[in-house]
């Protein structure tokens, strides 16, 4: 926070990353859940974030989306400074996410879950809501078309009218992705999207995630416990342990990194 602009001035405009996270940290009581986390996410990239349980991965997402305010450090998305902004402003700026513990609007229909997210930059006043003029209907029809398109992509169209809570686990995870995409994000944060899926579902999910950057012109930051999935999908990976980064690099290097292996085996790292 102290030297915000100066810090970012170092990066030249051409190769400035889409999402630039510099040295963020947060502590809960005495526990440093995330400590000195940095990340440069290029445009249209697939990036992995892994680490053992409790490493602080979800907390990083909560920091990036404004659920928690970082104690220190800065977050930038292209030209916007997102540090300390409210969650809905961050979504508006172009960061969307899914949740590890699924958070759908259970009573709302599948279609409405997505339509709600799609209405982000469309506003209709209370009077227009009462009179329902042509503008109201055009807006609703646009939202509906956009939502149905995304449901097609996620192969959820058949469930459009069902309440979200009635979907199977795998479908709920896909609906979360559809909902996040509906906000037209530049950065999509996926928190364990494959959790609870069977191998077949995982495979089609992997294919889907790989297609996202080109199709929706965005970058994906992926958390998952399935190493196979992350290694297959991501070009670059950051590994967290006890809130700190212990390795950064392409999948093949991460796989053979002794620190990473040690962290996953639960043994203390040599320098800890």
């Amino acid at each position: 926070m102290t030297s915000g602009p100066a810090r970012f001035a170092l990066a030249s405009p051409e190769n400035r990353p889409l999402l630039d996270v510099q040295d963020v940290g947060i502590a809960f009581g005495g526990l440093k859940a995330v400590n000195g986390f940095s990340l440069q996410l290029p445009e249209r990239s697939l990036y992995g974030l892994i680490g053992p349980n409790g490493a602080g991965k979800t907390t990083v997402f909560n920091l990036l989306t404004g659920v928690y305010r970082p104690d220190r450090g800065g977050i930038r998305l292209a030209r916007h400074d997102l540090t300390g902004r409210k969650p809905h402003e961050i979504t508006l700026a172009g960061v969307a996410r899914t949740f590890q513990n699924i958070r759908l609007f259970g009573e709302m229909s599948v279609l409405d879950n997505v339509r709600l997210a799609a209405q982000l930059r469309r506003s209709v006043g209370a009077l227009s809501t009462f009179f329902r003029g042509p503008r109201f209907h055009r807006c609703e029809a646009d939202l509906r078309d956009r939502a149905l398109e995304l449901l097609d992509v996620m192969e959820l169209r058949g469930d459009a009218d069902a309440p979200a809570r009635s979907l199977s686990y795998g479908h709920q995870r896909r609906l979360e992705i559809a909902r996040a995409l509906a906000t037209r994000p530049k950065v999509l944060l996926l928190d364990e999207p494959a959790a609870g899926m069977n191998p077949q579902e995982k495979q089609s999910l992997a294919k889907l995630i790989e297609s996202l950057p080109e199709r929706f012109e965005l970058s994906v930051l992926l958390i998952d416990h399935d190493m196979g999935l992350v290694m297959k999908v991501c070009r670059k990976i950051t590994v967290l342990d006890h809130g700190e980064i212990i390795a950064v690099g392409p999948p093949d290097r991460i796989q053979n990194d002794p620190n990473v292996i040690a962290a996953y085996l639960g043994e203390p790292t040599p320098d800890a």
Partner: protein, 369 residues
């Protein structure tokens, strides 16, 4: 319209848009027709006693439906709804009473149906709604940052403070001369009758005006539920964190729902204040009355407009009907409530509307719309 065919999605035709937009106006006009309809029953099918009961039910429905926007749709627990009703009622009463004194030199009724007096009254109801809406904003803005119990306490406080303040108001001034000669301290706090209530209001409320404002309220609530604003309200009820993660400005939507509900309650207050057989009193702002409306929304089902209407009519009519049982009345009333909540804890209709139970309608209301 479009079948559940795979992509690409067929665009909605402009013709159907135009038809939908026309429907946007036709439905409120049906509301006006409804108002004339119920008004024509007055004195024919309904005797004077029935008419009063019908007006009570209509006003209660408005309050239950409006409270349901905050408590049911948005999921915020407000227990100060009667405060907004009373504020609207007192405001509207001041407009008609002192307006009549200034315009015509008397607070008595002016003109027949749709005469000058009735229009002043209709405008006063809207004025009551607007003042209530402002209060809703002032109460809502700081308190909606709070959650659950704290919000409930603030709204409770609003109603109770209003009740006490209304008890401290000045005597009603009876004539134009009195008004002209009144000193400042007779006008501030406003001369609305103190603890005895606001006497002498012209009794303009009839089934036409109740029917009109009720149908507009109901149409608005139903349309709100199926709109962008309504979706963000329901989303907040379902999951606040998920709603801001998809870009819902949670504070703004909460305040908005509060303001809308307060406005509608204020209008209902105007109808209440000008009804035959009652004086609006400070007690009407208190939490006992707020509680009646909360019971209606809970019984009707969270976010169900028609559900809270049914509950409002049952709970308004029930005490009348139980009058024959006299001293067991409250016991029967309470037992019925307990039984209802045990049998249907989600409320009469859950979060659905009465037409959602008709298969034909359900099909039509699918993805196509």
């Amino acid at each position: 319209m479009t079948a559940a065919a795979p992509s690409p999605v067929a665009p909605v035709q402009d013709e159907s848009l135009l038809r939908a937009a026309l429907k946007g106006l036709v439905v409120p006009l049906c509301g006006v027709a409804f108002a004339f309809g119920v008004w024509s029953l007055e004195g024919r099918v309904l005797d004077a006693y029935d008419t009063v009961t019908a007006m009570n039910i209509g006003v209660a429905m408005m309050l239950a439906v409006s409270l349901n926007i905050v408590n049911g749709m948005t999921g915020q627990f407000s227990i100060g709804h009667a405060g907004f009703m009373a504020l609207g009622g007192y405001t509207s009463g001041m407009v008609t009473y002192y307006g009549s004194l200034l315009l015509w030199g008397t607070a008595a009724r002016q003109g027949g149906p749709f005469g000058a007096g009735e229009w002043l009254f209709a405008a006063s109801c809207v004025a009551g709604g607007l003042v209530s809406a402002c209060a809703g904003y002032v109460v809502g803005l700081p308190s909606l940052r709070l959650r659950g119990d704290y919000l409930a306490i603030v709204t409770l406080g609003f109603g109770e403070i209003l009740r006490v303040l209304l008890q401290q108001t000045n005597r009603v001034i009876g004539s134009r001369e009195g008004l002209a000669e009144a000193k400042w301290r007779e006008l501030i706090p406003p001369p609305v009758g103190g603890a005895v209530g606001f006497n002498g209001l012209p009794k303009y409320t009839n089934l036409f005006w109740v029917g009109l404002f009720l149908s507009l309220t109901v149409i608005f609530a139903v349309r709100l539920k199926r709109s962008a604003i309504g979706r963000s309200m329901i989303a907040i009820r379902e999951d606040e964190i998920a709603s801001y993660s998809v870009g819902v400005n949670v504070t703004r939507v909460k305040v908005r729902s509060f303001v809308i509900a307060a406005f509608l309650a204020g209008v209902a207050g105007g109808l209440y204040a000008h009804r035959i057989g009652v004086n609006i009193e400070p007690r009407d702002a208190g939490f006992q009355r707020s509680f009646e409306y909360i019971i209606m929304t809970v019984l009707g089902g969270k976010g169900s407009v028609t559900g809270s209407m049914i509950a409002a009519s049952i709970l308004t009519y029930l005490p009348e009907w139980l009058r024959d049982f006299d001293r067991y009345r409250m016991i029967i009333y309470a037992s019925l409530l307990i039984a209802m909540m045990l049998l249907r804890p989600q409320g009469l209709l859950g979060s659905r509307e009465i037409w959602d139970f008709l298969p034909w309608f359900r099909k039509r209301r699918g993805t196509a719309r």
